[in-house]
């Protein structure tokens, strides 16, 4: 099989990749789309291995084996709630891989062809994949850490941060030019540039609030695509270029779409200087001056007389793994003839669709899950809203206080319901780290407990009383 044949066979792979990507954008075709993508990737590797001269098979076997094993295990064993950070992690790996490939290829060429024979285009491409790959790697790691809520990582913000980032980027570009101008020392400059880009990646992401991480990951994902494309230019490999730029472009669009969903502009997400949460608005103590606690029994009574109940799940439900308890309560209420619906906020939890995933896992009928825009008008006619470990997504401050960190984020207007029961373990804040006036509202009751336990108790109370 000649390399040219590989080139032609790549055409099939390219078409499959496009089909796959397209498939992923529609609910009905998503699964097939993903499989198509996987198939394409498989073919890509097979054709490549068939197509080219002597590989060091042991190395490849080891590499693929280890990688597949590690990736597979991670993917299969990871908890649903941790999937976003896993994606971030994988994305980082991809970026680093590009760095290494470009580096390896550079070293090889320098040792074989010699500096003088290296075309500037090749060197530029090398630099590009090193730069983008590096940023992607550390950026993704930081994103991972933030989503994982690792303690050591904080939202770092300091004056002149943008200037610093600009400086670092400039440094990278300069080093890139040096690589092009003085191919003799290309190796040195290359790794220097990679170092700088690694630092840059950290600083680019570290200042961004964890709530925006999904957007950031989408963006970094687009970067890793571009890195792959750049690597493609290094190896003048069409497949890398196409697949890479496909992801680069679609990732960019996805990023925009996600920003719209959280209604933020991308620049706002990346560079917004939010004053640290503490400073903003009134302190927790002021807000929570008079909060009314309640008991499972009281909630049970409320539900006994309720005609329409809306359950608003949040990140807390995920933490408590309370979805099955939610389901039992739902079934009980519906048997009693109570209308039960779920208010799903697009960014409830820690990943888009997080709540749908969990509730689907608990076999809660899909058509009970109502999107924000549909459910909001119905809260007036709702007797009881049970907020299960949600906080930011039901925080009226988003609508009232323009300088709050979540200002402008569309929320579920549960405060308009007759009674709101908030199930959470304490008054401690949610992701955005700000107090929530809802909890102090007249029509709002706090049920301090682990979400799962609380729901079980409520159901028990309902059955007994």
């Amino acid at each position: 099989m000649s390399p040219v044949w590989v080139e032609l066979s790549y055409l099939i792979v390219i078409v499959l990749f496009i089909m796959g990507l397209k498939g992923l954008t529609h609910p009905r075709t998503a699964v097939r789309g993903n499989l198509t993508g996987a198939l394409a990737m498989l073919l890509a590797c097979v054709f490549t291995l068939l197509g080219t001269e002597l590989f060091d098979w042991t190395l490849i076997a080891v590499g693929v084996g280890v990688g597949a094993l590690a990736g597979g295990i991670l993917a299969v064993t990871i908890q649903m709630t941790a999937m976003p950070q896993l994606v971030a992690l994988f994305n980082g790996f991809g970026g680093l891989a590009s760095v290494f490939v470009a580096g390896a290829y550079l070293a090889k060429l320098l040792s074989s062809a010699g500096a003088s024979n290296l075309g500037a285009d090749l060197l530029v491409a090398t630099a590009a994949s090193g730069l983008i790959g590096g940023v992607t790697f550390t950026g993704s790691l930081v994103a991972f850490a933030k989503l994982q809520e690792l303690k050591f990582i904080k939202d770092v913000r300091f004056p002149g941060q943008q200037a610093l980032n600009a400086g670092l980027f400039l440094a990278c570009v300069v080093l890139a030019l040096l690589i092009v101008r003085q191919p003799g020392h290309a190796n040195l400059y290359y790794w220097l540039m990679v170092m700088v880009s690694l630092v840059l990646g950290v600083f680019l992401v570290i200042s961004i609030g964890g709530a925006d991480m999904p957007v950031v990951i989408a963006l970094l994902n687009s970067y890793s695509g571009l890195a792959a494309a750049a690597t493609g230019f290094v190896l003048s490999n069409v497949l890398l270029i196409v697949a890479g730029s496909l992801v680069g472009a679609s990732g960019l669009i996805l990023t925009k779409i996600m920003c719209v969903a959280m209604n933020r502009s991308l620049t706002n997400v990346l560079f917004a200087k939010l004053q640290p949460a503490k400073g903003s608005g009134p302190s927790a103590d002021e807000v929570y001056a008079n909060v009314k606690a309640t008991s499972p029994e009281e909630v049970a009574m409320l539900l006994d007389v309720a005609g329409r109940v809306v359950i608003v799940p949040g990140y807390g439900m995920a933490v408590a793994q309370a979805q099955h308890a939610v389901k039992d309560l739902t079934n009980y209420l519906r048997e009693k003839g109570v209308t039960v619906e779920f208010g799903i906020h697009p960014v409830a939890g820690r990943m888009p669709g997080h709540m749908n995933v969990l509730l689907a896992e608990a076999d809660i009928p899909y058509d009970l899950l109502i999107e924000m825009d549909q459910i909001n008008p119905t809260f007036e006619q709702t007797d009881v809203v049970i907020v299960v470990g949600a906080n930011d997504v039901v925080n009226p401050v988003a609508q009232t206080d323009p300088n709050s960190p979540i200002a402008g984020m569309p929320i579920l207007e549960v405060h308009k319901a007759r009674t709101v029961v908030n199930i959470k373990r304490s008054l401690s804040p949610g992701f955005a780290g700000i107090p929530n006036p809802l909890f102090a509202a007249d029509n709002s009751l706090m049920l301090y407990a682990d979400a799962r336990q609380a729901l079980i108790d409520i159901l028990k109370a309902l059955r007994e009383g």
Binding site: L24, P27, N34, G63, G67, S245, L246, G353, V357, Y366
Partner: protein, 113 residues
Amino acid sequence: MTLTALCLLATETAEATGGPSMQLALLLTVFVLAVFVGFEVITKIPPTLHTPLMSGSNAISGITLVGALLSALAGDPTMVKILGTLAVILATMNVVGGFLVTHRMLGMFRKKD
């Protein structure tokens, strides 16, 4: 940002070498077209699909694997081999893990009956 940088460098190249090779021009065309396809393919997506799409396309970006496979050939200096193998490992993790996790996510969703 990065995109522009890339382009800038590309032109920069041209000056440096007094014009890139015909092939580079073709590759750039391929790049531009692929970017357009990428832009056009993505349309309105229900929020529930944002994460799977992200994760799926992330897996696709693991295409670097192909590059990694090609980077470490027999007879290359050890340094290169080490880098190459590391690249293969990382890229494979990205690919295998990426597609798997996407599949798991999607498995969680039900089609509306």
